[in-house]
Symmetry: C2
Subunit: 446 residues, 2 copies
């Protein structure tokens, strides 16, 4: 591996050196009669020695596999980024203070066209230079907590995020915005909902599906909506701010425990599951969509409960699941299992004895449904009743992902099995929706 | 355990014997000042010795835990079911022949009010007596293949179902209807889509969310819609017939590889994911919703490929997933793994070395997204590119459940790793949607 050519080795590296190309230079590759032109960008450490990656004019990165006849020519030198230090706008004493905590993800980044990499852009001055409207809404106190792809975020990061939010609230923030990658945003939003109890002000998770410097970016709209809600929204809960539809107009706020990423790429990827969203906003006007919410009250004292115990697992059931997986998890020290069963809360008969063994060893086994929408009904069929008799804990209409996060949190609060069971089934942060008339008419009760 | 009192033992059994109550009798239980009246019903084998289960007048079953002061009284004898043998309607020579294969599930059952149990009701004569309209549509050839809760159905059952369908098609059926529980119907529909290639006639999977003798049942409508489509639909594919909305009007036909159960209890629980449904029907008129489908052609020769290899697994990624699970599966002989990653096809950095080890051992590792909707985009971010470089196979917009079934099927077709990889990424039964303009505009390509 070469330091000047991160990720390149072997044949590919030799070709680049021969062409005297550096990372960031514009190169032309001719291969099998096809010509590719673009900026040479670094590769990740797991690459082979056969591919060269260039950023095309369209903005896409492609990997070109080299052959014996492939030719590389340097046709332009790398553009050295010119850095103009941005100036911070003056603090406006009449505006509330909003903290923006960045953990990484697309919203907190700009594509670096020199390297093709993505770098965090969430210092306060960077923010104002990217989204100057923010200075009209609030005085921003920006903090870069992590620069992580959200798929790398784990329970220990949730704890640090909760503590960072608490610190900013103590310092008098009118609200906190947390920038986060979309991939595991739902898990983190649930985690903060449990860890930050009795919130006095809103905590708004915000993300985007396109980085801020792309023409179709949703970053600025989402960020303005989030900061505005943090500063002025009447609710004091953990919510996820994201596009309501694929159009560029409204931002919707989903409750942290009731939302999941439901599309790989659409800007309205997050949906409220089994409930309506908490609120929505357009042109800085915030409309509540439910009457049942915790109101902003700066005299309320935040109760910080940041402990999570990772000795919990989620098992998605499928036809032919090997039940020994349950025993294996227990051998590995697992204290609780969320089953993602089928339909109203079922799992194959061939898994029952493993579940029985697990419960007998004191492991918490709780049920959710891979349907995602709807509520469990474990007394309707024999299988559900069998599972209840075995000691499986039904989690109503809780999302499987939220259930896993809650289980980790519960295990971080108590070592007592019965207390843990009680906590798990108690509605703490709207993770369980109340039964509705609608459900009575259309749902499992006919 | 007692033979006359299935599922009862210990204290509960003693109390019942003292009251001289039999299964099916109407009993009154007085406990803590509350009175419960209903039909004594059998319990499942996993019960404790503390609960007695009765079917209330409302139709619900409840379990009542007995205490030292609980009193039980027999207040009515069981209604012995009167059996009137139904007569088969005459075969009508002008009507096509439709085979109905029953595997179990709510649609194939009637609640037995004497025992509270559910029993199959899919002999041809039973069917005509429950849904007499069928005799106007087709001559029915009914077969009870299994009586299984669908959560107990595995790969070996898929093979048997595929063979049963082939047999009926050989015998000249104009179409085949397969009755199946909703819970794992999506997995089976995908399995049949791969196992039954070059179908000459339609294969319609049908299910219901309420048993046929309940006032709100969707069984009759779904069954009529399914039989009508089997007899007359212009398409020759595996489709799932289910309510289009929660109202009782239209039936929609989802492609077997593109549908999943998306609600625990609603009658329109199945949805077409990342595509439009194949067709819909109301009042026996069938409307195609796509131009791109395989047409009915009785001269086409069915290609039966019923082999599935269960040495495949589905792992849903979540923050903190223990990567050793991947090694464990391989030790257990697993030949392929479907990852249900996040977003565009990502997984935590702490899982990369386990994936590398697995690929090096020749295990197929393929990626799908837990978003459910949308298409993978594994060249957009570094993590996706890293995973591709490791040898992870991206499965476009394939459902994770369909991907698992396809992997089992692929492993049943070939032992050659490269050929398996080719089969896995080749579109065989519409499991991969073509890229659309819509997606280009709104999707991962901005």
């Amino acid at each position: 591996m070469s330091e000047e050519f991160p990720g390149y080795r072997g044949e590919a590296l030799q070709l680049l050196k021969r062409a005297k190309a550096e990372i960031g230079d514009i190169i032309r590759i001719v291969k099998d009669g096809e010509t590719y032109e673009g900026i040479l960008i670094p590769r990740s450490e797991y690459g082979d020695d056969k591919h060269i990656v260039v950023k095309l004019k369209t903005g896409y990165n492609i990997g070109i596999s080299i052959t014996a006849t492939t030719k590389i020519e340097k046709i332009g030198v790398g553009i050295k980024p010119t850095f103009i230090p941005p100036t911070l706008p003056e603090q406006k004493p009449n505006l509330p203070k909003v903290a923006i905590i960045s953990t990484g993800g697309t919203i907190a980044s700009r594509v670096d066209y020199r390297t093709g990499g993505v770098r965090p852009a969430l210092s306060a001055s960077d923010l104002y230079s990217v989204v100057p409207e923010l200075s009209e809404i609030a005085n921003i106190d920006a903090e870069i907590l992590f620069s992580l792809f959200s798929e790398d975020i784990k329970a220990k990061h949730w704890a640090e995020m909760a503590k960072a939010v608490a610190k900013h609230i103590e310092k008098g923030a009118a609200g906190v915005v947390m920038a986060h990658g979309t991939d595991t945003l739902g898990y983190t939003a649930a985690a903060l909902s449990f860890a930050l109890q009795d919130l006095p002000v809103p905590v708004i998770m915000v993300a985007s599906q396109r980085s801020a410097d792309r023409p179709s970016s949703d970053a600025a709209t989402n960020l303005i909506g989030a900061v505005n809600a943090a500063a002025y929204a009447p609710f004091a809960e953990v919510a996820v701010a994201i596009h309501e539809t694929t159009s560029d107009r409204g931002i919707v706020f989903h409750r942290g425990t009731k939302t999941r990423k439901c599309h790989t790429s659409r800007r309205d990827t997050f949906k409220s599951i089994n409930t309506t969203p908490l609120a929505k906003t357009a042109n800085r006007k915030i409309t509540m969509l439910t009457k049942d919410y915790r109101k902003r009250d700066t005299s309320r004292r935040l109760s910080l409960k940041p402990n999570f115990d990772e000795r919990a697992t989620l098992i998605k059931f499928y036809p032919g699941l090997n039940p020994e997986i349950i025993d294996w998890h227990i051998e590995k020290g697992c204290k609780g299992i969320i089953l993602e069963g089928t339909g109203l809360g079922h799992i194959g008969n061939y898994c029952l004895s493993a579940i029985k063994r697990a419960v007998e060893k004191g492991v918490l086994i709780a049920m959710t449904s891979q349907c995602i929408w709807g509520r469990l009904g474990m007394t309707v069929y024999d299988r559900g009743r069998d599972l209840l008799a075995l000691g499986v804990i039904p989690l109503e209409d809780m999302l499987p992902e939220t259930a896993l996060v809650k289980l980790m949190w519960v295990l971080g609060q108590t070592k007592d099995r019965e207390e843990a069971k009680k906590l798990l089934t108690k509605n703490i942060a709207n993770e369980i929706s109340p039964r509705t008339e609608f459900e009575g008419a259309q749902g499992e009760n006919e």
